[in-house]
Amino acid sequence: MSEELVRIDAVSKRFGKNGPIALTRLSASFFGGHVTGLAGPDGAGKTTLLRLIAGLLKADEGALDVCGHDTLRAQGDIKRDVAYMPQRFGLYEDLTVIENLHLYADLRSVTGGARTDTIERLLRFTALEPFTARLAGALSGGMKQKLGLACALIKKPRLLLLDEPSVGVDPISRRELWRMVYELVDQGIGVIWSTAYLDEAERCKTVLLLSEGKLIYQGAPETLTQSVAERTFLVADITGDKRAVLTRALDAPQVLDGVIQGDAVRLVLKEGEKAPNADVLQAGPAANVISTPPRFEDAFMARVGGGAKGASPFAGAPKHGADNDEIVVEADALTKRFGDFTAADRISFAVRRGEIFGLIGPNGAGKSTTFKMLCGLLKPSAGAARVAGLDLAKAPGKARARLGYMAQKFSLYGDLSVRQNLNFFAGVYGLSNAARKGAIARMIETFDLESYLNTNAGSLPLGYKQRLALACAVMHDPDVLFLDEPTSGVDPRTRREFWGHINAMVSRGVTIMVTTHFLDEAEYCDRMALIYRGRAITSGAPDALKRRAASSKNQNPTLEDAFIALVEDFDRKEAA
């Protein structure tokens, strides 16, 4: 067994006397020589734990021993042995790459020949050599993260703490980062990698799962995954509505959890239960239920007791006729130029009624620009955006009345109560008095907000915050709902609940537009366009994209593999 670098003994932390509890009597150990994943949704206590280990916070109770030093008494020693990369990488954006490195070399007393060698080695390691004179602020997300890592590694630490290093980083850079981290581990450095993504936690040798400040699992991810072995199934070759199949499956007594996975429905069964019959699920004549290897997320869901059951309260009578071929959202050679820079370059696609359509791509690829043009928030330089047949450039007000928008991180007023938020948004949409009362009552009923009406939005539980944000976005009964990274950083359980509401809305004929760089979220889409360097480089159903990326080496690529393959393919063609 490799050496124990961190021992945490019954540590509790709370912010302020009556503030939120971040950690409750947590005990754990971290070892050198491998990557330990620290996984959990936003607000689970990951950052707090890392800061405690780095000696940046003081525990209320319990003791932390880091590299043989007590965090309270030997703060200085810990800072010498531990390198910490905070969430935003700790870079000075107005300094160049090399200036950032020199600053951290000064701060960590790396001098003389060792300094020249280290900086040279790190630049090579991170492939930043050509960019030494570039300002850190002008680097891409992936390059910033690599520079942040280089700054943290300027003096070889015994323990490296990475706080959500893959947030805002495209899959390609993320893969490179993993390669670099494995190299460090080979040199004997212990790495703690915190993440909200369970697929990332799965790659670590051991993992600590946090939920609401409590440790819910510690050990090898495979061990947890194996706990649901033989209990995971795919309902494949569905004819008809896969979302309806999912709803029926969730209502089946033997099913613990279910999600849409491409064209299929993925199910986790309760212990000792048999898979439901495809006929019971009314999945169509060709459908069959096949066993599939378990994933870490399946096990996580089983550990927390499964997701929400059955239909969302939002399900109801179809909003429109069954005319599902009507084009509701249309981008026609949409182009946006900022000076010399083309943020969106002739992007075209069409979305039919009742479809979930995703714009997928790394940060800065042009997703948001395209999204904003479709919502009428940005004026295209060329091309046209149409919603429900209305040109956003010509009739922005009318078109906007037909769409709902839910921003990333829910743009609610945290210090207004649920009722006040609903009232405010009803007013914003210009609903008349009678219509307003009706709409608010309907929202309270469908989203079951009655018991929280006088609670401030800021102190709602996450799931209810999400409901309220959704209620505020759909109060005016829009035809199209725009979602901006709706569930990134949200725990799988709340995410399922959210998509349950969305699926219910889709079944009523609402069209959904999603942007995300988070590929788990992309699985929920019917079709998507991959946006890269301002261009829609390809589009299609998730499974179609996966098939396109399949090779003899990787016969069952994940969406992330597909993404990387398609982007690399595009880069090769561009270079040629």
Partner: protein, 381 residues
């Protein structure tokens, strides 16, 4: 063992590294140079050319009801005075509308019996009508006319070889330190204090808050840097920046506006350095409490910039304030600095004034730096 020996040297290297980083950031962000160089010049030009509390030239109406040699002589005295622009008429009604409209600031009436009453001495032979809605101007006009009258009476007595009329009070004003009584001479040195306060408190508060906001403070605190090193590394570049703008301001004041400088440059440097420390200390203290730039800016304007403006004798006289407010002014570093600046510029090295000011500045600077050191923690909570 070897590592222990290197600790002081490591400390200096960290300070140097941090100072270099801050300097690069200052040089790269044009808004810093605007605050350090352009803003002082704008303020100096504003106070040097724009704002003045000096007597101006007033347009008045002169009513001569009965022209006589005496009234002619007094009219000439009025017209020759640099303070008045004169228009003459025979009837006061000609000017009433102008006074109401504000086109003229007052009416001086020489009555028909002006010549007869002029030498009797006990009753005022002239009438001054002023607009009480503008009391400062009204008072100034009244005083000027009175002085002119006394002056004219004496001249008349001498030229006619009459016995000198007993002047009730013989005022012979002699103004020390600022013989030209030019408000520019005390406004320009005073504005140096305002400029340094801006750089010291506002800029420092903003840059530290920015580190918290952008998350770089977290990375910085995770390195072996200590509190003292952090404070020195942060303060040094802004101290230098402040001293540069002080030199620019003083040079502009002396060479462009011709404000006299009678004290010693060394004392000026010393007092400025202390004031700068007090301002930086206040800025740092604000930024350790307010971890976002908006709050830091608001707090530093409310607690540093505005008090420097109001409680420093720069524009508003402290002696004429209510007692409670006078007490407040003792906690405002600009009070001591403006006093020293005005003394050094206009009077010279006056030890009793400068030493008191130095003591005040040391107390305030020390207080803020101590508070900051206590409030800054090398932890995040």
């Amino acid at each position: 063992m070897n590592e222990r020996k290197n600790i002081p040297r490591d400390g200096w290297r960290r300070i140097r590294g941090l100072t270099r980083k801050e300097t690069l950031q200052v040089l790269r962000d044009p808004s810093n140079l605007v605050v350090a160089v352009v803003l002082p010049l704008i303020l100096l030009f504003l106070f040097g050319y724009g704002v003045t509390f000096d007597p101006r030239r007033f347009d008045i109406g002169l009513v001569v009801e009965q022209p006589t040699p005496e009234s002619g002589s007094f009219s000439a005295a009025l017209a020759n005075s640099p303070f008045f622009g004169i228009e003459t008429a025979r009837d006061r009604r000609a000017f009433e509308a102008d006074l109401i409209a504000g086109d003229i600031k007052g009416i001086v009436v020489l009555p028909a019996d002006f010549a007869d009453r002029a030498y009797r001495g006990n009753t005022a032979p002239i009438q001054v009508i002023v607009d009480g809605g503008d009391p400062n101007t009204a008072e100034l006009i009244r005083t000027y006319v009175q002085l002119l009258w006394a002056n004219w009476l004496q001249q008349e007595s001498i030229s006619r070889s009459l016995p000198l009329l007993p002047a009730l009070v013989n005022v012979e004003p002699r103004i020390w330190f600022n013989p030209e009584v030019s408000s520019r001479n005390y406004l320009v040195p005073g504005s140096v204090a305002i400029i340094l306060m801006l750089i010291g408190a506002l800029l420092t508060a903003l840059v530290v808050a920015r580190e918290w906001e952008r998350g770089t403070m977290e990375a910085l605190l995770a390195t072996p840097i200590g509190i003292v090193e952090l404070l020195i590394g942060k303060l040094a570049p802004y101290f230098a920046l402040g001293m540069i703008s002080m030199l620019i301001s003083v040079a502009t004041a002396v060479f462009l506006f011709g404000v006299p400088f009678r004290g010693s440059v060394i004392l000026l440097g010393l007092v400025s350095a202390l004031f700068m420390l007090a301002a930086l200390g206040q800025g740092l203290f604000i930024s350790t409490l307010a971890r976002n730039q908006l709050v830091a800016a608001q707090v530093s304007i409310m607690s540093a910039f505005l008090p420097a403006f109001y409680f420093s004798n720069f524009v508003f006289e402290i002696d004429s304030m209510p007692f409670a407010l006078q007490l407040v002014s003792y906690a405002v570093p600009a009070r001591y600095y403006v006093s020293s600046l005005q003394t050094l510029f206009l009077a010279g090295d006056v030890p009793s004034v400068i030493l008191t000011d130095i003591a005040g500045l040391i107390a305030i600077a020390g207080g803020f730096i101590l508070l900051t050191a206590l409030a800054t923690r090398t932890r995040l909570d």
